[in-house]
Symmetry: C2
Subunit: 79 residues, 2 copies
């Protein structure tokens, strides 16, 4: 079963990568682009077949390794 | 209107970041983790309100800046 962990900087946390992307888009002539935030996504292939257990495992992995919960929030979706 | 651009390494392309995460998870004692792939997600706040035009704009941005289409594939979702 596949789990997708999306990690984004928390609201209010400075996001220099997002800012840089926003500036680059403006420089390329893209208008009407407001805030840009950059995060990461980790696709995990899990042996677990029970959705609830797979979700719990992915959340545990996110808390322990994938996300820095001081400055980042994460969400897990199963596919 | 918010657009979410997800950029992942194409199948077959070496993903050292994903491999490193996989090894780290194994080192932390997480069992049953198969392939791990790491990508990025860019959240764009667009002034455009028409969903079709917003999607087209986000795809254009992905092709021109956000993704390296030689080694990465991208998908756009609107929120």
């Amino acid at each position: 079963m596949k789990a997708l962990v999306t990690v984004m900087p928390k609201t209010g946390v400075l996001d220099p990568q997002g800012k840089a992307i926003g500036h680059a888009l403006a420089g390329l002539g893209f208008a009407g682009v407001g805030e840009v935030r950059a995060g990461k996504v980790i696709e995990l292939e899990l042996a677990e077949t029970d959705p609830a257990k797979a979700r719990a495992a992915a959340e545990e992995m996110a808390r322990k390794l994938l996300a820095n919960t001081v400055i980042e929030s994460f969400s897990v979706s199963l596919a």
